[in-house]
């Protein structure tokens, strides 16, 4: 990283020493996990660049946007509609929560048996190492699981611009009404923050922009059905992770460019791994940057990941917003319809998710499914048991793993994953 950014980071109030340490760890992990892969598509060069500048150039862009009066909104969840943010001429970014940081500090605010993702959100704030969080004019929390819901009460004492969105827990008409009401309340809050009134035109454009971004990811996912699979699971996960940070139009263009290249690779029967490599579908908790632990273990154990049933993956990007509406109210209804279909494990009952996992395993021709539960994540770990039953009822081998961001259990995890892959061969 160039020294030019040092001043920028300092102005944002980052702890430079801790931040250097984080970048160093991140850089080394990226080198060992990503750059060590062979047969990568050339188009991944774009994402290598994005990652090398993840706290640099991208933050500078955001700061430049701010200088021109544009507001930055940070979010921790796929239920926060980017369409509303873009329509009010603001930018939405996903906030860092994929690594342990300042653990002792965090435990002054949260019980030890809190999931790593929630702890991480606090760690980045307390350690002053997330430039996205520090540049945000509004941070949106959401009442998903109990852990997050209660944690935002404490996070509110650390972040003065925290906005909490309520979410329903049941897929009923009443539930949908709650979500719609909350999206209207969010729209007003965003309009108040930006001073920009959302119009039918601006909302329609925003819907198109976000739909295009999702369509590019859908196209990428579709190409992963080929055998040999033209892109590694790690690389595809990275695209899904960068989805949350990048400028939407540039992201869409870059992913489509990679897809052009992958189409050619498929024609030439060129794969990231040889044909007939055991194919794994990952399902479960989201994997935020730089949480690459499990995919890395899977793909260095002789298998390839062909899909992610995850918020950072297909659960988060499935379905587009209907583009045919012409009034703000109708569009708000269409946005609610689209997000209400997200089958997060906080919903009960949640049969749609089980159906989607089975459907994905079949569509991506997965030989087996690994269910990834973050330790202490009650909704996903509870649901992993019915998930396993549903899959095994269809004769799809399933492995449930429970882990966190630490590397202490990498050996045990590797044994399990390798034994599971031996079982598939």
């Amino acid at each position: 990283m160039s020294d030019d950014y040092k001043q920028m980071w300092k102005d944002l109030g980052l702890n430079l020493e801790a931040h250097d340490m984080l970048l160093n760890v991140l850089g080394n992990a990226y080198k060992d996990i990503y750059l060590a892969q062979i047969n990568r598509p050339e188009g991944m060069g774009y994402f290598d660049f994005v990652m090398s500048e993840v706290h640099g150039l991208r933050i500078k862009e955001l700061i430049d946007e701010k200088a021109q009066g544009r507001k930055i909104i940070g979010s921790y969840c796929v239920f926060v509609p980017e369409e509303i943010v873009l329509a009010a001429n603001a930018t939405l970014v996903g906030l860092c929560s994929g690594a342990d940081f300042a653990v002792e500090e965090v435990e002054k605010y949260l019980p030890r048996n809190t999931c790593a993702l929630i702890k991480s959100a606090f760690g980045f704030k307390l350690g002053k190492v997330c430039p996205y969080l520090e540049s945000a004019d509004m941070v949106v929390g959401e009442n998903t699981c109990d852990g997050k819901k209660k944690a935002y009460e404490s996070l509110g004492s650390l972040i003065d611009n925290l906005y909490v969105m309520d979410l329903p827990q049941m897929k009923s008409e009443q539930g949908k009404a709650i979500l719609k009401g909350e999206y209207y309340r969010f729209k007003e809050a965003v309009e108040k923050l930006t001073g920009v009134a959302i119009t039918a035109e601006s909302l329609k454009n925003a819907i198109k922009t976000v739909n295009a971004k999702r369509s590019a990811i859908h196209r990428l996912s579709e190409l992963r059905k080929a055998d040999p699979v033209p892109i590694s699971g790690l690389d595809a996960l990275l695209a899904n992770q960068v989805f949350f940070y990048d400028n939407p139009a540039r992201f869409t263009e870059s992913v489509n460019k990679i897809c052009d290249e992958l189409e050619k690779r498929i024609q030439d029967k060129q794969g990231a791994v040889p044909a007939k490599t055991p194919r794994i579908l990952l399902s479960g908790c989201p994997m935020a940057v730089p949480n690459w632990k499990l995919p890395w273990i899977v793909e260095t154990s002789g298998a390839v990941i062909v899909g992610e049933e995850s918020c950072v993956g297909e659960r988060g990007t499935r379905n587009l917003v209907d583009e045919s509406c012409d009034t703000v109210d109708k569009m708000m209804g269409a946005i609610t319809d689209r997000y209400f279909k997200v089958d997060c494990a906080i919903f009960t009952p949640n049969q749609e998710r089980l159906n989607h996992i089975v459907e994905m395993a079949e569509n991506y021709k997965a030989d087996g499914v690994i269910h990834y539960g973050l330790q202490f994540c009650q909704p996903y770990i509870m649901e992993s048991i019915p998930v396993e039953k549903a899959l095994e009822g269809k004769n799809i081998p399933t492995l449930r793993v429970e882990t966190d961001y630490g590397m202490e259990d990498a050996g045990q995890l590797k044994t399990r994953v390798q034994a599971f892959i031996e079982q598939l061969r």
Partner: protein, 300 residues
């Protein structure tokens, strides 16, 4: 030609050499200690001194990758043990190795319980003897040989007598903590209360047994979960063959030598628990058989 299997566990290392027909030529055991590679090489040196040769090595256990890397990087001339190196060392997980070792003794086996020094696992096999599903304990020593070893020491028993002594208990005591650290304090407070140490020992065995039994029921649940009341007829369960497979499980690993554990698991599951001779050698034996089969496959 012969084939070697090595199982590098957290507590012990085992090596088994088999011949072309899969018969055991020799076997060795030693403590893992703090330098598992040096210990492993010492065993191979002892084998060499006996004049036994082998064509390939299959490593399993938690030290398998460490061993493969160390072995393939040894200097062929100046390695410290002057070991004659062979150019064929690979790895297999302990799950597959145990499954292979067990089916050599018990071709009909459907369920395996393995409790070693640092981990415990339950494995379900399909009709071809292949792994269908498995469960392993988490990253701590709860419910493993290490747990029993520490508790035996706390109560002043040797590990060999621990099971025998527990069987002599008049009453069952309940131990609630599964974490080794918490269980140790619980045991200490039971001792302070004047509880009989055999009863405490029995309680500890019961707590390990419960954990093992729940792992077994999880790997077996694939069939049981699809049995519906309307599928049960006078002849048995429709679609499920009336065989004897589910009437026994195979118990391997060092803890299988503990009589109390065998008895408790058998009572809990209501089935026979069969223990092969030298249950701690099954992983190394299975690895040697996999080495043999891989070699013959390569030759075809």
């Amino acid at each position: 030609m012969n084939y070697a299997g090595i199982d590098i566990g957290s507590r012990t290392i085992e090596v088994v050499v088999v011949n072309d027909s899969g018969e055991v030529i020799c076997s060795f055991e030693s403590d893992t200690g703090f330098d598992p590679i040096a210990e492993s090489l010492k065993i191979f040196y002892a084998i060499e001194k006996k004049g036994i040769k082998y064509e390939s090595i299959m490593a399993t256990g938690y030290g398998r990758t460490l061993f493969e890397i160390a072995y393939t990087n040894l200097d062929p001339i100046s390695n410290s043990n002057k070991l004659t190196l062979i150019n064929n060392c690979s790895t297999v997980t302990e799950i597959k190795a145990h499954a292979r070792g067990v089916t050599a003794f018990f071709p009909d086996a459907a369920t395996i319980l393995d409790i070693g020094g640092q981990d415990s696992k339950a494995i379900a096999l399909n009709e071809n003897g292949r792994v269908k599903k498995f469960e392993m304990n988490d990253r701590c020593a709860a419910g493993t040989g290490k747990f029993l070893e520490i508790m035996a020491r706390t109560l002043g028993f040797t590990i060999d007598d621990f099971g025998k002594e527990a069987l002599l208990a008049q009453n069952d005591l309940t131990i609630n903590s599964m974490c080794t650290v918490f269980a140790e304090s619980e045991v200490t407070s039971l001792i302070a209360k004047g509880s009989d140490r055999r009863e405490i020992a029995k309680g500890l065995h019961i707590s390990v047994m419960k954990r093992a039994a729940s792992m077994i029921s999880r790997v077996r649940s694939i069939e049981s979960s699809v049995i519906r009341p309307d599928k049960i007829t006078k002849q048995g369960v429709e679609g499920v063959k009336n065989n004897t497979k589910d009437n026994f499980i195979i118990f391997t690993g060092g803890v299988a030598k503990n009589e109390c554990m065998v008895k408790l698991i058998s009572e809990k599951l209501g089935c026979d628990v069969l223990v092969p001779d030298n249950p701690q050698m099954i992983g190394a034996f299975g690895a040697a058989l996999i080495a043999l089969e891989q070699q013959s496959k390569d030759r075809v």
